[in-house]
Symmetry: C2
Subunit: 450 residues, 2 copies
Amino acid sequence: MSDATASGVRPVGVAVLGMGTVGAEVIRYMTENAEALAARIGAPLALRGVAVRDLTRDRGMDPELVTADPAALVARDDVDVVVELMGGIDLPRPLLLDALRSGKAVVTANKALLAEYTDELADAADSTQSDLYFEAAVAGAIPVIGPLRRSMAGDQVERVVGIVNGTTNYILSEMGSTGADYSETLAEASRLGYAEADPTADVEGYDAAAKAAILASIAFHSRVSAGDVYREGISRIAPADFESARDMDCTIKLLAICEKLQCADGTEGVSARVYPALLPNSHPLAAVGGAYNAVVVEAEAAGRLMFYGQGAGGSPTASAVLGDLVAAARNKVGAGRAPGESTYAALQVASMDEVATRYHVRMRVADKPGVLALVAAEFSNHGVSIAQVRQTEAETPEGAGEDAEPTAELTVLTHLASERALADTVSALTDQDAVTDVTSVIRLEGMDTE
Amino acid sequence: MSDATASGVRPVGVAVLGMGTVGAEVIRYMTENAEALAARIGAPLALRGVAVRDLTRDRGMDPELVTADPAALVARDDVDVVVELMGGIDLPRPLLLDALRSGKAVVTANKALLAEYTDELADAADSTQSDLYFEAAVAGAIPVIGPLRRSMAGDQVERVVGIVNGTTNYILSEMGSTGADYSETLAEASRLGYAEADPTADVEGYDAAAKAAILASIAFHSRVSAGDVYREGISRIAPADFESARDMDCTIKLLAICEKLQCADGTEGVSARVYPALLPNSHPLAAVGGAYNAVVVEAEAAGRLMFYGQGAGGSPTASAVLGDLVAAARNKVGAGRAPGESTYAALQVASMDEVATRYHVRMRVADKPGVLALVAAEFSNHGVSIAQVRQTEAETPEGAGEDAEPTAELTVLTHLASERALADTVSALTDQDAVTDVTSVIRLEGMDTE
């Protein structure tokens, strides 16, 4: 990667911000595959520098390339493409804006930044007709952004449903196969390195919500940010929920769902939401286990497509970053530009109240005559239609006296119902003396019949 | 789709050659989604004409747009993109060469033409820096060419394995679930419209081989044509093979396999081959049933990715064509160019003799002492290592006299062996008196252990 090349072609200058696992892998591949990359780009890549926080650590590379001043690196005249892998929002944001406004291409894996500030970044890119690439921000190595932006560009996407967070998918897969409870499985995941010390962003669905915002924006040519995404985490999921799932030939997955829908005012809108849901074992996403990711795209002409692969990790993420880097560099050598942000459709984001899903409701009720009729009436009163009911004898709770009233467990599967109607039903049920407890409410997705 | 637009933007002129199922769907989507497509492209598409063979048929469109003279349509000054959906080789070939040489972009679904004449077409495209797109040529709606060309451009692809022919996948899926034999299932597939009147191109693997050539060329930046692809069809597959498959927790799929390998002379080469193979049920491709297609890509950094969806049909294929059309039109509006043919790696195509796979060999042998030892010795003599052997009593063949010698069925699963060594073993076995018949030889793919 030197400046002077035999052919005299001007190299494409690259600045890498951040040298964690992904950054180190990107630099390694840039070096090891330099010849192949040059052939594909039409010019060699030249690494101009790597910005790190801690200058004292040995990075195993020419120390002259390492700097603690990312702004100065980004501002260099011989930098054409800025690869941002530092994470966070406040630190990279001005750096990337500066890069784009001075006509440099940006490649980033920073989903949090994108989900919050895509508009600002896109405007900066448009101001100089520069490129903003972020395939690695969603689903690691799996090409999803590229296919949505380019391959589906002639089609009408109707829905995107993905398993886009490896940590929660690992935890749910484990809970499903071992029968262990949530906190136990989370602790195990932390020990194995599948969950971070502070797992909140993953287990509470913030990470998946940022990705859902990015997916929805691109799929529906509208602007959806992380705050627009309805979000529930997985911490309430209990072993009993997996038992219910098995009875229904389902599994439980944390899904990121983006879909077009009709809003209450009759206009077309977008729903973006993240929650754990029952999913039939026959659904293509049901078999996606462990730390894998997959995204299903449903489009008018294409029908159902699925993209599957490793959603995280140094090498897989580096693969996506490098693909973007080659594309950005090709555009620097030629005169092309990647598809920019496209928000012409400007669909409004629907509130969760406008979304209809199916619900699986589990409750403990008094085991006496008339209770089933009473429960059924509450659903009916709120306009929620019941698809299936199952009543099983419940064990007497521990510590209950001998004269404790006997209880039964009742599970109800509804047809499509609105969030509002279901919430009202649950609230009314809770007020009933005969209902001891509404133990869990989980949505059911991916059933073709309603 | 008129010439004069309110914004004054010059429209992108489109010529469609061929108006079968796919062509009709492309034109329908172009018309129905004109506004969305214009927003994504930055200019409206204007349909300049449709070339058909039979002018007398009512196409349900402005008759002035329909022509029987494709050459004149392609030559029009106001045509910027030529969409070729007529099929065949001799008729479209000069048309597409003319289009590319006069600086027009070409979008085609013609795998047979591409697998034979990619070099010529690519040279024509390079001569004017025009675009040649062909996502629809492989695996219908599933984005495979785009991801390989763009998303994987920074990675090193090691292997591409696909189920890329819906007809054979339907037949094999049916044989696996019904136990029916090949010709019966083919007849049923024809009746249901899953197989053409002359099914040769599908069932003998020619269609899959053309797609393998295209995939191998792109994945390995080398030139592989249809004739370079080793090819076996599915007509020899018998119900007994599916029984063996079930015993091994496998299924049987027609696979298109493209991989890098070390050639006999020590250089790196490419193998491209198509044949029915045993595949473990745990392999992601094993669950791809019916008329679906899927492609697994294994790359150095990305690991294993899978792309899944509908591999044929009017709408799905139209989706891929339209995605390419939007990309080509965007490049006409901007100044970009799609990644052109990249053959810098120039890997040689390895002969089948250089490929090592595992084999499942089924034979009828005399049921007497010493036969197993003799069979084992023949494998060993030819350097083929045996992984598993199973011997079962065979029924006495119909019509055999009472004094017919009793026979047994012997199945042998080998470790990795070369094509040559296995062929020599089979030939030697056939010469043995104790071996009545080598009934079937099927390769085993997708096992991680060897």
